[in-house]
Symmetry: C2
Subunit: 158 residues, 2 copies
């Protein structure tokens, strides 16, 4: 263990840093990278998250949508108001239960989402070009796997 810190960079005895220590700042930087693209499209991070979460089928209940994007159900109401006013989403009562809203994208909302996402994708492609092709592919595959895990499986693996 005398060599446990040959390099003073937060690394453990196997020479790598904690996952969180690598992933969290990277996530912050990626969000900062998205910021100008979203601004150019007149979207906040939460507005964009909402657009990403809405697809071909309406999402049933605002609470379900909020949970899907990791937001507070009370705090997305203003976001939804704004998106609805701009004609990017529609909110309709569920005919079978009028307490509930069905949320869907408009064609305009889809276009804006796709345009913003294309801008973000372009930047990501340039960033990922720093990785060897095989590493890039494996990285994305691993990331998809890990990010698809239910949260409690990440928190308490096995």
């Amino acid at each position: 263990m005398a060599q446990s810190r040959a390099l003073d960079d937060g690394t453990a005895h196997d020479g790598r840093r904690d996952l969180a220590a690598m992933i969290v700042p990277l996530g912050r930087a990626l969000m900062a990278a998205e910021s100008p693209v979203l601004r150019a499209h007149g979207l906040s991070m939460w507005a964009y998250s909402v657009l990403l979460a809405l697809g071909e089928e309406p999402v049933r209940t605002q609470n379900a949508l909020a949970q899907a994007i990791g937001a507070d159900k009370t705090r997305i109401i203003g976001v939804l108001d704004g998106l609805q006013e701009r004609g990017l989403i529609e909110r309709r009562p569920d005919p079978g239960d009028r307490r509930v809203r069905l949320l869907s994208l408009t064609a305009e909302g889809r276009r804006l989402r796709d345009s913003a996402q294309a801008g973000i994708r372009e930047r990501e492609t340039r960033l990922l070009a720093r990785l060897p092709a095989a590493d890039r592919t494996a990285f994305l595959r691993a990331l998809r796997t890990l990010s698809s895990l239910p949260e409690d499986e990440i928190i308490d693996p096995e």
Copy 2:
């Protein structure tokens, strides 16, 4: 483009999600995973980050330390006070410039850091076991590369 959304899961036309959309929630979950380990060691996230950032050589200036861990220099003062009180770190004036503090780990601080990190590493190993070995290796290699990039290179690649 008619097939651009075969699956309604926030994916672009190449079928993958935005990096931020995958990495940010993963980072949050990883932090949540660390939480019980840190609590068991009587450490906050920031306290742990400070311990990780201090190595064999003293860190010169509190501001440099704050920047290194992505914290606000004014907000880590309390953290440093607490760590110092517990005998986990030392703060000494630089003999060459008494405005400046030299920050270093005590032996006790090193032990606590290493113990916490071992606990966290154990959980990570279990989590990463879900990946095929080759993907795991490539993922960690890629993650190291990306997380080592200067922030402005991530924000504005090339």
